[in-house]
C-alpha cells in the first residue's frame, strides 16, 4: 500500500509498510542521504530530522505516524551550492571530523535557533545533549552554532 508524506515541501507517495521507520523511507525510498542510521534506539541523534519544526529521531518514527505533518531533512536547509546559514557555519568552522553525526547535529541545532535565535552557550550544550559525536568535534560544533546565531543576528565576524 502507498502512504503519502511531505518531505522538504514536496508530496511523495511511498510504497512502504506503515511500520517502516521514517529513516528507512527517507534513505531508501526518497534517496536522501542526510539522516543516518546510528543506533535505531533514539540514543545517538544521527537520524535527527524535523517534523512540523520539532527535532525527532527518524529511526523511531514509523511512516504511518506522520500523517499530514511535514518532514524536513538537512537537504531541505540548503545545498552544496547554496548552503543554509547553519550549514555554512559548520563549513566555516570546519566542524566535522568523520562527519557521520553532523547532519543530525545540524538538524537538532536548527530547531534551537528557530526558537531561540541567540541562545546562551549552556542552552546550546543542553539542546545538543541527545546527539553523540565520537570523534570529539564538540567544541567546533558549539562554535558553529554560535557562529550561525551571530550571522542571523547580523553580528560582523
Amino acid at each position: 500500500m502507498t502512504t503519502s508524506i511531505t518531505v522538504n515541501g514536496k508530496r511523495h507517495q511511498v510504497d512502504s509498510d506503515t511500520d517502516t521507520p521514517l529513516l528507512y523511507v527517507l534513505r531508501n525510498d526518497l534517496e536522501l542521504n542526510g539522516a543516518k542510521y546510528g543506533c535505531g534506539l533514539g540514543q545517538c541523534g544521527a537520524c535527527t530530522v524535523h517534523i512540523d519544526g520539532k527535532a525527532v529521531f527518524s529511526c523511531l518514527t514509523p511512516l504511518g505516524a506522520i500523517g499530514e505533518r511535514s518532514v524536513r531533512t538537512i537537504e531541505g536547509l540548503g545545498s552544496v551550492d547554496a548552503p543554509g546559514v547553519l550549514q555554512k557555519a559548520f563549513q566555516d568552522e570546519q566542524a566535522a571530523q568523520c562527519g557521520y553525526c553532523i547532519a543530525g547535529m545540524i538538524m537538532r541545532a536548527q530547531t534551537l535557533l528557530d526558537k531561540i535565535p541567540n541562545p546562551s552557550d549552556d542552552e546550546i550544550r543542553d539542546h545538543l545533549q541527545p546527539n553523540l559525536c565520537r570523534c570529539g568535534t564538540h567544541a567546533r560544533i558549539l562554535r558553529a552554532v554560535r557562529r550561525a546565531s551571530d550571522v542571523m543576528a547580523g553580528v560582523a565576524r
Binding site: 548552503p83 550549514q87 543542553d126 553523540l132 565520537r134
Partner: protein, 747 residues
C-alpha cells in the same frame, strides 16, 4: 587507469618480490604502523612509501589539460587526509588544489601502502607524494627548458600550472605532459619547495569532504546505492562466541520478505529487497535461543583476568648506571578496561559479483587486506577481486569494518549479478566487534636526595593489539563457515612502534630502567587495534608516576619532567603549553579545583604533545568539569594547521571519554554493553569548556603523524589534575563520578 599504468604496477610489484627476498629485514621499515609487514621495500633510499613504489606514475599522472590525478594507498578515515594529501601534491606540483584529484586506496588503482593506521599517513604517503610531486615538477621544468631552448635555471613554475621562462615565454603543464614519461623511478633528492615559497601547504584549505557532509551529499559508504541493490543482515546471537539455534533453511526461506537466506556453517544472513524487511527478519531470528561460547567470558577485573593467563616476557629496556641511593619510593599499579571503538555508524560494506569479478566497497583501514581475506575465504584468485575504500563513520581502529566486508563478499558471491549492501545493527557492532584491549601496568620507581629518578621498574601486561585480518581466519565469518579458518595466533608488534609495549619506554632520561612487556597471546575477549594501542595506558602510567614522584620530592610536576628531559622539541612543547596555560602562575581559587599536565611523544617517533588541564570536582556527586585545556603539539612540517587543531581537539575529548566513562564488561556468557545507555560516552554537557591548541612551526622537518598523539597525555593530565584537586591518585580507568565520589566523600 590505463592498461599501461596497470602493467607498470605489475612490473613494479615483480621487482618488489625479487628485492624482498634479498632484503627481508627491510620489511619492518614499511607497513602502516600496525598489521602485517606491509609492502616490500624495493628502494630503501627513497623517502616514505616511495621505498615500496618508486615509479612516479604509481603516484601521479598528468593529463593534456594540465590536471593531475594523484594516487594514495591511504584512506580518508575522517581525519582530513584527503585534503592534506591534496595540499601536499598541489604544493610540490605547484598547481592550484582545484587541479589535483586525489584517488584514495583502491586495489585496482593505487599503490598498496599497508594499513591506514598508527598516524602514518602523512609520514608514509604524504612524504611519498611530496617527493614524487617534486620529481614530476623537476621533469616538467627540464622538458620546458628543452622545449623553449633555455637553461633549466631560466624556467620556473608559477603556481597556476604554467612554466614561465626568463624571456616571458610560457608553457602549460598540459602542453608538455604527453612528452614527459612518469614511468621512471623517483630520485631521492628532487628539490622540495620551501616554507617561504609555499602557496598551499601550511595554509588552511577547507576540507574537501565537508560540503557534502553538511548538506546530505553522498558522503559515506552507507549512502551508496547500486542498481538493483539488495539489503542483507547477518543473523547472530547477542555477542561474540554465542551461536543461534536457527530453524531449518526451508522455514526461514518461507518467511515474508526473504529474497535469499544464506547459510554456510554457523554463518547466516538474510537478503531482502527492502532494508526494513531484512531488519525485521533479523530481529525475529535473533530472538531465538542461543548457545553460549565454549569458553566463558572473563567477568572479573582486568588485572586478575590478564595476570591469570600465561605470558611471554619481552624485555623493552634494561639499563643500569651507578647512581645515588634511593630516598623516596613510589609503587603503583594502573589499569585500563576493555574499550569499544564506539563508531557512530555501525559497520557497512557493499559487494557485487559481476561475471567473474567481485568488487567490494569497504571502510576498512586495510583495503588490500580486505581483498586478501576475501580471496582466501571464497577461494578465489585474488586478481578477480577488487576492493575500494569508501568513507564510513570514524572507526579509531579495527571495528566491525573488516568483518562486514568479508560477510558482504560471501553473500554477494552466492548471488551472482546482485549488488549486496550489508550493514551491522548497533547491537551487533557492540556485541561482536573486536574491543580495544584491557591492560595492566605496575611501576616501582624511586628518587634520590637530589630529586633524580634513580629507579624505574615497569611491567605491562597486554594481549596483542594487532589482530587485523590478513587472511580469512581473522574475520568472524571465516571462523563460522563450514570449512572454517582458525583464528590466527596473536603476535606482538616489535618496538620501536610496539603494541601493548607502545610508549612503555619513557622518553625521559632515566639511568636505571627495567621495562618488561608481559605479552599474553591468549585472548579470552576478542580484541584488536584501538587508537594509540598501548600508548594510552603506558603514557597514563608514566605520567601519573612523574606526578607522584614530584609530589614526594616537593617539586613542580613540570620541573620534574624538564629535569629528566634532554629532547629539545619535547621541552619546547611542554614549555610552550605551560606558558599559554599560565602554569607557573596557576592558583586555586576554590576547593576541589585542580591543575594537571602530561606529556608524551607518540611512540617516541611521532608527534610531541603536552596537555595542561584545569578541573573542578563537585563534592556531592564526584562529577568533574574540565574548565580548560591547553595543548601544544610538534608534528614536524605542518600541512594543514586547522587539521592538526581538529585532530588534537578530538583526541583530547575522546581520551577524556575513555578515561572517565568507558568499559565494556562481560557477565560470563555475554558482553554487557549493547547500546549507548549501557556504554555511555561523553556528551555535550561534559566536554571541556575550553580547548586551545597551539602548534610548533618546524619548516623543513619531516611530517610526524598527529592523530593519536593526544590520547595518552589527555587522560594522564586529567588524572593528575584530579590528584591535585582531591589528593587522591586514581589509577584504574574509567575514573567515573561514582569512583571519585566514593574516594572523596570521606575527605
Amino acid at each position: 587507469m590505463s592498461a599501461i599504468t596497470r602493467r607498470s604496477f605489475l612490473a613494479a610489484s615483480g621487482i618488489a618480490v625479487a628485492f624482498a627476498l634479498a632484503r627481508p629485514a627491510r620489511a619492518q621499515l614499511a607497513g602502516g604502523g600496525e598489521g602485517g609487514a606491509g609492502p616490500a621495500i624495493v628502494n630503501a633510499d627513497l623517502p616514505g612509501s616511495l621505498k615500496s613504489w618508486p615509479y612516479l606514475d604509481a603516484w601521479i599522472q598528468l593529463d593534456q589539460n594540465g590536471k593531475a590525478t594523484v594516487f594514495t594507498g591511504k584512506a580518508e578515515l575522517g581525519q582530513g587526509i584527503r585534503t592534506a594529501l591534496t595540499q601536499v601534491a598541489a604544493e610540490e606540483l605547484d598547481l592550484p588544489p582545484s587541479k589535483v584529484t586525489l584517488v584514495t586506496v583502491d586495489t585496482l588503482r593505487t599503490p598498496d601502502e599497508g594499513l591506514t593506521a598508527g598516524s602514518h599517513s602523512m609520514q608514509d604517503s604524504g612524504t611519498a607524494i611530496r617527493n614524487a610531486a617534486a620529481n614530476v615538477r623537476m621533469l616538467l621544468l627540464a622538458k620546458a627548458a628543452a622545449t623553449l631552448g633555455v637553461a633549466e635555471a631560466d624556467v620556473a613554475t608559477k603556481g597556476n600550472g604554467t612554466i614561465v621562462a626568463a624571456d616571458g615565454r610560457s608553457l602549460g603543464y598540459g602542453e608538455i605532459a604527453a612528452a614527459v614519461s612518469l614511468h621512471v623511478e623517483a630520485l631521492p633528492n628532487a628539490p622540495l619547495r620551501q616554507k617561504g615559497q609555499f602557496r598551499t601547504m601550511g595554509f588552511n584549505l577547507p576540507r574537501l569532504d565537508i560540503p557534502a557532509k553538511t548538506t546530505g551529499g553522498e558522503a559515506f559508504i552507507q549512502d551508496m546505492r547500486l542498481p538493483g541493490m539488495l539489503h542483507a543482515r547477518v543473523i547472530r546471537g547477542p555477542s561474540i562466541g554465542t551461536r543461534l539455534k536457527l530453524p531449518p533453511d526451508s522455514e526461514i526461506e518461507a518467511m515474508d520478505g526473504v529474497v535469499k537466506f544464506v547459510r554456510n556453517g554457523d554463518f547466516a544472513a538474510v537478503v531482502s529487497r527492502r532494508e526494513w524487511d531484512a531488519v525485521k527478519l533479523m530481529r525475529r531470528l535473533q530472538a531465538l535461543p542461543y548457545t553460549a561460547a565454549n569458553e566463558p567470558l572473563p567477568s572479573g577485573g582486568v588485572a586478575e583476568t590478564l595476570k591469570a593467563l600465561p605470558a611471554r616476557d619481552i624485555v623493552i629496556l634494561d639499563t643500569s648506571t651507578p647512581t645515588a641511593d634511593p630516598k623516596h619510593s613510589v609503587s603503583q599499579s594502573f589499569t585500563r578496561n576493555w574499550i569499544s571503538h564506539g563508531s557512530i555508524g555501525p559497520s557497512c560494506a557493499l559487494a557485487w559479483l559481476q561475471d567473474d569479478q567481485l568488487t567490494i566497497w569497504t571502510h576498512s583501514q586495510g583495503t588490500f587486506d580486505v581483498r586478501r581475506v576475501a580471496a582466501e575465504l571464497l577461494n578465489r584468485p585474488i586478481e578477480t577481486i577488487r576492493a575500494i575504500h569508501v568513507e564510513g563513520a570514524g572507526c579509531y581502529g579495527q571495528n566491525g569494518a573488516d568483518d562486514v566486508a568479508a560477510e558482504a563478499a560471501l553473500i554477494a558471491a552466492s548471488m551472482p549479478g546482485k549488488p549486496i549492501r550489508l550493514q551491522w545493527m548497533r547491537e551487533q557492532e557492540f556485541g561482536w566487534e573486536p574491543l580495544g584491549p584491557g591492560m595492566v601496568t605496575e611501576v616501582d620507581a624511586a628518587i634520590d636526595a637530589g630529586d633524580r629518578i634513580v629507579k624505574w621498574n615497569y611491567d605491562v601486561w597486554s594481549n596483542p593489539h594487532n589482530n587485523r585480518p590478513v587472511g580469512a581466519g581473522g574475520v568472524l565469518v571465516g571462523n563460522e563457515v563450514a570449512q572454517s579458518f582458525p583464528i590466527p595466533e596473536g603476535k606482538p608488534i616489535p618496538m620501536p612502534e610496539g603494541d601493548g609495549s607502545r610508549n612503555s619506554n619513557p622518553l625521559y632520561d632515566l639511568p636505571n630502567t627495567h621495562v618488561i612487556y608481559h605479552f599474553i597471546k591468549d585472548m579470552p575477549i576478542r580484541v584488536s587495534a584501538l587508537r594509540s594501542l598501548g600508548a594510552h595506558l603506558n603514557v597514563f602510567s608514566i605520567e601519573s608516576m612523574f606526578d607522584e614522584l614530584a609530589l614526594k620530592a616537593g617539586v613542580d610536576p613540570l620541573d620534574m619532567r624538564l629535569a629528566h628531559m634532554a629532547d629539545d622539541r619535547a621541552r619546547s612543547v611542554m614549555l610552550t603549553a605551560s606558558e599559554a596555560f599560565g602554569w607557573k602562575t596557576r592558583k586555586k581559587t576554590s576547593p576541589l579545583q585542580g591543575f594537571g599536565m602530561a606529556f608524551a611523544r607518540y611512540k617516541n617517533l611521532g608527534a610531541y604533545c603536552a596537555v595542561f588541564m584545569e578541573i573542578t570536582v563537585e563534592r556531592d556527586t564526584g562529577r568533574l568539569t574540565v574548565r580548560r585545556v591547553q595543548a601544544d603539539v610538534d608534528c614536524g612540517e605542518v600541512v594543514s594547521p586547522d587539521g592538526v587543531h581538529n585532530q588534537v581537539e578530538g583526541a583530547i575529548i575522546q581520551s577524556l571519554s575513555w578515561c572517565t566513562r568507558e568499559a565494556s564488561g562481560n557477565d560470563g556468557t555475554l558482553r554487557t554493553a549493547f547500546d549507548w545507555s549501557t556504554y555511555p560516552i561523553l556528551r555535550f554537557r561534559d566536554v571541556p569548556e575550553k580547548i586551545a591548541v597551539t602548534v610548533q612551526q618546524q619548516p623543513g622537518k619531516p611530517f610526524l603523524g598527529v592523530a593519536e598523539c593526544g590520547q595518552g597525555p589527555a587522560s594522564a593530565a586529567l588524572a593528575n589534575a584530579l590528584a591535585d584537586a582531591t589528593g587522591v591518585r586514581f589509577t584504574h580507568m574509567p575514573i567515573t563520578a561514582e569512583k571519585v565520589r566514593a574516594a572523596i566523600v570521606t575527605l
